[in-house]
């Protein structure tokens, strides 16, 4: 199985601009949702779905023979929904239903409404690394050599369950797992240094037995090179952890560099300003 798009960096940039337009429009439309982390992780999502992961848009929960992706920090659902829609899992027009009554696009990702692309609910933090590890172990039992990806927020690492999984995965040699931390240093109440004191995550995960990589998350060249390196590091007895340095709100200047846009939607004027900065073919807007 291959990636259905295998896009070039220039093409990935175009998709990312479109996804960022979707994100700000989606949260503006319902005056709620989480634009900051969504914008920061857009390049990562676009890289996975349009270049890195091998999967089929003919979605099944089991995903036999496919690379699987899990989102642990479910609040950045806008970037995932937009990416899935742009990758062909469902019609981008459905993005207009985000967070509205009777929608498949719940505030946080869910399986209950049957949205293609989602394999488990997330939102209550700290659970995704365990789930992804279990899915990776099932792949091993099934002799399925595809990979499992999971994204976590850095603030989320304050949850104890993450560290239960961080002990477990190396101990059980889960080497078909590529975990990524969105290291944007921001959480709701302030910076992760002020609030949580996460410290040296590289040294911590290494001490737990992970193969640790670091990358810029808003630079396609570096990001793709690191994801390649991560793939090459699989199958060698250790799970892989990427510390991905991103800028919360990346792509919209007034949303960048502050935790204030973690969970706040732009007003009409701010939306206009944001869309001006995210130049792409407007005709492709949902």
């Amino acid at each position: 199985m291959e990636n259905p798009y295998n896009k070039s960096i220039d093409e990935l940039k175009q998709v990312a601009a479109q996804v960022r337009r979707d994100i700000v429009r989606m949260v503006h439309a319902v005056n709620s949702g989480h634009p900051g982390g969504s914008l920061g992780c857009t390049d990562y999502f676009v890289s996975l779905y349009f270049k890195v992961m091998n999967y089929s848009t003919d979605f099944t929960i089991e995903g036999k023979g496919e690379d699987l992706f899990f989102l642990s920090n479910g609040h950045i659902s806008p970037v995932w929904y937009s990416t899935l829609a742009r990758a062909g899992f469902f019609d981008p027009k459905e993005l207009a239903t985000f967070r509205k009554l009777n929608s498949r696009l719940q505030g946080h990702p869910a399986t209950e409404e049957g949205l293609p692309g989602i394999r488990i609910a997330s939102g209550s933090l700290g659970q995704g690394l365990s789930v992804a590890t279990g899915a990776a172990q099932a792949k091993k039992l099934n002799n399925d050599d595809s990979l499992v990806y999971v994204l976590m927020g850095d603030g989320e690492l304050e949850e104890g369950q993450i560290w239960e999984a961080a002990i477990y995965a190396p101990h059980h040699k889960i080497d078909n797992l590529i975990a990524t931390v969105d290291r944007n240093h921001q959480q709701i109440d302030g910076s992760t240094d002020e609030v949580g004191g996460l410290g040296d995550l590289h040294a911590k995960f290494e001490a737990f037995g992970w193969h640790v990589l670091e990358t810029e998350g808003n630079n396609f060249k570096q990001l793709l090179a690191t994801l390649d390196e991560a793939k090459a590091a699989t199958g060698k007895g250790k799970p892989v952890m990427i510390l991905m340095h991103t800028e919360m709100g990346f792509g919209v200047d007034f949303m960048m560099g502050s935790h204030k846009w973690h969970g706040v939607a732009p007003n009409d004027e701010q939306l206009e300003k944001a869309l001006q900065q995210l130049a792409v073919n407007e005709a492709a807007d949902y």
Binding site: I61, S124, S130, V131, T133, G134, Q161, A165
Partner: protein
């Protein structure tokens, strides 16, 4: 009052262990996870026969629930094993989001439920687990009464697609359920037909209900005794058919009176046919250290308590 002959007494957790091992032989998708209590959960036989399908998770129950949910995505049928306290209260949010809301085919198998855990005391004697689990949408809740029924339930839930909470325990109790009895989820079992009072019992209280039935018979009271092994979905038809004959109810469970089987039955009665009901359950308190028998007596969960409750219920008709 019928007799329920049995050749030996056994613990329900051993029924789980035997059922799990048998499942392992017949269903290659069954996997087992345990949080450092393999011996207590009687999972050793499965572990020995199927080491590649047994996962030692360590003392990390939240991770265990997440792992199990993830394994279902690869088509596995995970059975998690730890004490009832650590299977529910400790991991409620993980079960709620990753298992129940996500509709995952995880079997949460919980031993040492209730007071009969004994000397370890209230930190380990959970009396709220049935309530927590039955409140979760999509969750099936089962509390079998003896070794054979626990074994049969363990095997039966593998064929049901969806999350299940299977509750059992540590004490040795008469093993009277026929070994070949089919386990049907959600189907109450008529043990003794009667006309004066309906006793609906679950788990370890089923045998106590049988003992109470004999005492009541000596007093000239005809008790109908029904084993409610599945608390959710509840067999409402069986309950309503029984109370149509008897006109009053005793519910009996090793659980807090708030939120357990009794409340589920009361809801059925309120909606359909309001009738006197007496609870045999723990009266909204924690347990304490002691032998199982001492505790069941002190907290009013023995056959004498059921007899007294039946007489009260009848007097209220």
């Amino acid at each position: 009052m019928k007799d329920f002959p049995y050749s030996e007494s056994k613990d329900t957790r051993s029924g789980f262990g035997a059922g799990l091992a048998e499942l392992g032989r017949n269903n290659p998708n069954v996997v087992a996870l345990c949080a450092d209590l393999t011996g207590s959960l009687k999972m050793d036989a499965f572990k020995k026969e199927f080491p590649e399908r047994f996962y030692q998770v360590g003392i990390a129950e939240a991770n265990m629930i997440g792992l199990a949910a993830g394994m279902t995505i690869g088509g596995k049928i995970p059975y998690t094993g730890t004490f009832a306290n650590f299977s529910t209260g400790r991991v409620y949010d993980q079960i709620r989001q990753s298992v129940a809301y996500s509709g995952k085919n995880v079997k949460i198998c919980a031993s040492h439920a209730g007071l009969t855990l004994g000397e370890d005391g209230a930190t380990h004697q959970i009396l709220e687990d049935l309530g927590m689990m039955k409140m979760l949408p999509h969750m099936t809740v089962i509390n079998p009464c003896d070794y054979n029924q626990t074994k049969a339930a363990t095997i039966a839930i593998a064929s049901y697609e969806g999350p299940v909470y299977l509750r059992f325990g540590r004490p040795v109790v008469p093993n009277f359920t026929p070994a070949d009895q089919k386990f049907e989820i959600g189907k109450a079992l008529m043990l003794n037909e009667g006309t004066d009072v309906s006793i609906f019992a679950t788990g370890h209280l089923v045998w106590k209900a049988i003992l109470a039935g004999h005492i009541l018979a000596e007093k000239g009271i005809s008790a109908e005794i029904i084993n409610i092994h599945t608390i959710k979905p509840l067999d409402e038809a069986a309950i309503l058919a029984s109370v149509a004959k008897t006109g009053c109810v005793v519910s009996a469970e090793e659980h807090n009176r708030l939120g357990g089987l009794g409340d589920s039955i009361a809801q059925v009665l309120v909606k359909n046919k309001p009738l006197p009901q007496e609870y045999v359950a723990v009266n909204d308190s924690f347990g304490e250290s002691g032998t199982p028998d001492e505790l069941m007596e002190k907290y009013g969960l023995n056959e004498q308590s059921i007899v007294a409750a039946a007489e009260r219920a009848i007097s209220r008709k």
